[in-house]
């Protein structure tokens, strides 16, 4: 039976599954069904395993709900209570609709993250193939260190994508299409709906109030588009529109925005009026008087459109800024719009100061703030001029020797005539040639060709993979020392067995392959040495531990 600590969210009696009567339980993390009279659950599925749910169409006699799992299996529940079958099913469906997305995201997110990591990093992918697929270590160990931040609420830093802002034209993008017979179709995507909600919180409020109690979604949006709120000429005729309130709220919001003004002391919006010099300089008629009674209808509708336009832009910008604000900021924002002079004064001076400073100071004209350096003061600079020749290795020659040598040479060269036909004897020449031929005295160093020219490239690639895999295992092994906790003890023992398994399954076949191909070079010597060091360290640790215990 389920542990009683699980919270049961919904119980539905008289639900049949596979022609058996029973009860359906929806709990915090799973959905379960038990037959009538029995204590156990025969069917139990975690929400994270469920891929989607399906319901039978409304017209059918049988009221059914089907759960499709990720594995492809499906389970069908038949709601058999005569009176409340439909209601039960709807309730179950609603609950599932709310719960499933939460769990779905978690499971998928992990898998997605793993897949993404494997795809982005080919070295990691190769390591995964070498170690996990060939069962040298298990998949959990492999992912143990790498998925550290995944289960936290915040996403890993490199998956932080930028928030997408709201397109200013989102309302215009809903282009109505004619339906053929005097109707208009508006295509609303979830993106557009989200934009509308973010920009106009008033609409969102109306939506949450009315849907799904009073109106369906479809009706709500139909009304939205029909309302004059949406259309340009927003002349409030006082209809029973649910959106007329929104219009009033918008007016209020616009007024408060205007009152707030701009915080930058260097920007004076009020001076941006349409000041004209006189008649003829851009206007046809005389300056209108300040009273509003002379405004024509056209002017007032133009003013209304401009007002709406400004309001829309302001809301779009505010929506972009709003989501980064902490609720405290919103509270302070509202307090300043109340006209509470004390609070608004708090915010004015720092902002003003910053703006003024920005305008006054130029960064590159400031004095440079160089770090303090130590002055160079060389006492014995001739040391640098001396080459890497040891001081005392020169043979000592007396001055007499030198003089003798020079005189000797002079004598010799006094009657020097080049005798180019007898420069050297043939024996000398042939011995020189022998020394220079391959295998000769002077050619010894060249026999060692670079190893990467002697070993075929696929062997090289395999060796690289072996090194990467061995490196990974050895890293885990060596990070266990010093062994302080019992967790580390277990890990050390496990890693040692992993290393042995690696050697057996990967390294030895590779060695045999090399031998078969007659490659004389010892390519695996270093790897074996590393593994041997690890084994001996483990052995030492083990003997010490046993001595401590006894």
């Amino acid at each position: 039976m389920a542990s009683l600590s699980e919270e049961v969210l919904l119980v539905v009696k008289k639900v049949r599954q596979r022609k058996q009567d029973g009860t359906l339980y929806l709990m915090a993390e799973r959905i379960a069904w038990g037959p009538e009279g029995k204590d156990r659950f025969t069917v139990s599925h975690l929400y994270s395993d469920i891929r989607c749910q399906k319901i039978s169409p409304d017209g059918k006699a049988k009221v059914q709900l089907q759960l499709v799992l990720h594995t492809g299996e499906s389970t069908t529940f038949h709601f058999a209570n005569e009176s409340t079958a439909l209601k039960d099913r709807e309730a179950a469906k609603e609950l599932l609709q709310q719960l499933l997305p939460k769990f779905k995201k978690k499971a998928n997110k992990e898998l997605e993250e793993k897949n993404r990591m494997l795809q982005e990093d080919p070295v990691l992918f190769q390591l995964y193939k070498d170690l996990v697929v060939s069962q040298v270590i298990s998949a959990e160990e492999f992912w143990a260190n790498r998925l550290g931040g995944l289960n936290n609420a915040e996403p890993a830093p490199y998956t932080n994508k930028q928030e997408v802002g709201i397109s200013g034209a989102f309302l215009a993008d809903i282009r109505p299409q004619t339906d053929g017979c005097n109707g208009l179709r508006y295509n609303l995507t979830t993106d557009i709906i989200e934009s509308i909600f973010r920009t106009y919180p008033a609409v969102k409020q109306k939506y949450s109030e009315n849907v799904p109690h009073n109106l369906t979604e479809k009706e709500f949006w139909t009304r939205f588009f029909q309302s004059h709120y949406f259309h340009r000429d927003r002349i409030n005729t006082g209809t029973q529109d649910i959106f007329s309130e929104c219009a009033k709220q918008d007016e209020k919001g616009l007024k408060s925005l205007v009152n707030k003004g701009v915080k930058n002391p260097l920007v004076d919006l009020l001076s941006l009026e349409d000041k004209t010099l006189d008649e003829g300089y851009g206007i046809k008629q005389a300056l209108p008087s300040t009273s509003n009674s002379n405004k024509t209808v056209k002017e007032s509708s133009n003013a209304a459109i401009i007002k709406r336009f400004n309001h829309h832009s302001a809301m779009v910008l505010a929506a972009g800024a709003r989501k980064n604000e902490v609720p405290a900021d919103q509270a302070s924002e509202t307090s300043s719009t109340d006209g509470n002079s004390r609070d608004s004064d708090f915010f004015q001076p720092p902002v003003k100061k910053v703006k003024l400073q920005e305008a006054i100071e130029y960064e590159d004209l400031q004095r440079e703030n160089r770090q303090k350096t130590v002055a160079l003061n060389l006492k014995k600079s001739d040391r640098y001029a001396h080459g890497p020749v040891p001081l005392q290795s020169q043979k000592y020659t007396t001055s007499q020797d030198i003089i003798n040598a020079v005189n000797c040479i002079r004598h010799e060269m006094a009657n020097y005539k080049p005798n180019l036909t007898q420069v050297m004897s043939s024996t000398a020449a042939s011995s020189a040639v022998a020394a220079l031929s391959p295998g000769g005295v002077l050619m010894q160093g060249g026999a060692q060709q670079a190893i990467n020219q002697m070993v075929p490239s696929d062997i090289q690639g395999e060796l690289k993979h072996l090194y990467v895999a061995a490196g990974e295992l050895l890293r885990h092994f060596w990070s266990c020392f010093p062994v302080n906790t019992s967790f580390l003890e277990e890990k050390v023992i496990k890693m040692k067995s992993n290393l042995e398994r690696f050697q057996m399954t990967k390294l030895s076949p590779f060695k045999e392959k090399l031998q078969r191909q007659y490659l004389g070079t010892n390519l695996t010597g270093h790897l074996e040495e590393m593994l041997q060091t690890a084994y001996s360290k483990f052995h030492i640790w083990q003997t010490r531990r046993m001595m401590r215990k006894t």
Binding site: L391, S399, E412, M413, A414, P418, L420, M424, L436, G446
Partner: protein, 275 residues
Amino acid sequence: MSCYGFHIFFTKFTLSKCLDAVMVMGNSHLALTRTNKLAVIASHCQDSHFLYPSKSLGGGDGAADDVSSTRDGKYELLAVANSTIAAEIRNVLSKAEVRGNSTDTLLAGSLAKALCCILTNSHLVCLEQVIKAAEDCALQYMNFMNVIFAAQKQNILIDACVLDSDSGLLQQACDITGGLYLKIPQKLALAQYLLWVFLPDSEQRSQLVLPPPAHVDYRAACFCHRNLIEIGYVCSVCLSIFCNFSPICTTCETAFKIQLPQMVKPKKKKLKMPA
């Protein structure tokens, strides 16, 4: 088109044999391609001197007489080169003062002269051939390294043929510029070595099997003892190298804090921060 600069450094040996070999090499080089050019520089303790082409080559009559007197149909250029070299070396030796105090030769200077000669004469890749019988001189180190790097920038290869003892500086020169370094076991067969190894130019060398490059010792020498060391201490202010730690750098007199850890790790070059 390539141009050879020969350097011959000598203190003691059978100079005439050496010169003969050099001349053979020079002649072969000139004979390979019509556009090849040759310059020979001799370097001794006071001076480095162009043996060929010589400044006194201007005179026509003397040279013409020499040429016509050979009477063996030799290519004129070769004949002139040989006689000039011979005459000049006699000249140099007779004029050289005898000073009994140094056995150093002006290697860097002659290399520099050769470089200038190459750069003024030809535009393309060139080779320099150094035949060395003397010891490395420590005092010319800076100049020498400057010349090497200049040659490297100009894509001039420096080859070295060493007769007596290995020269670390020349090994470095050959490694840096991409030339060949060879220490010859038999001096008598110098001509053979020269012709076999050093005559082909750089493109042809890639097709031939030549002696492999020697392992170059790039170790630095510590400033205190001039021992070649692999691991040492470097002052972070003046970059002078020491083999032992000392709390004050003797070159720039900066004081350092000593932070002796529990386990001294010897296998690291430590850069200490000044106090």
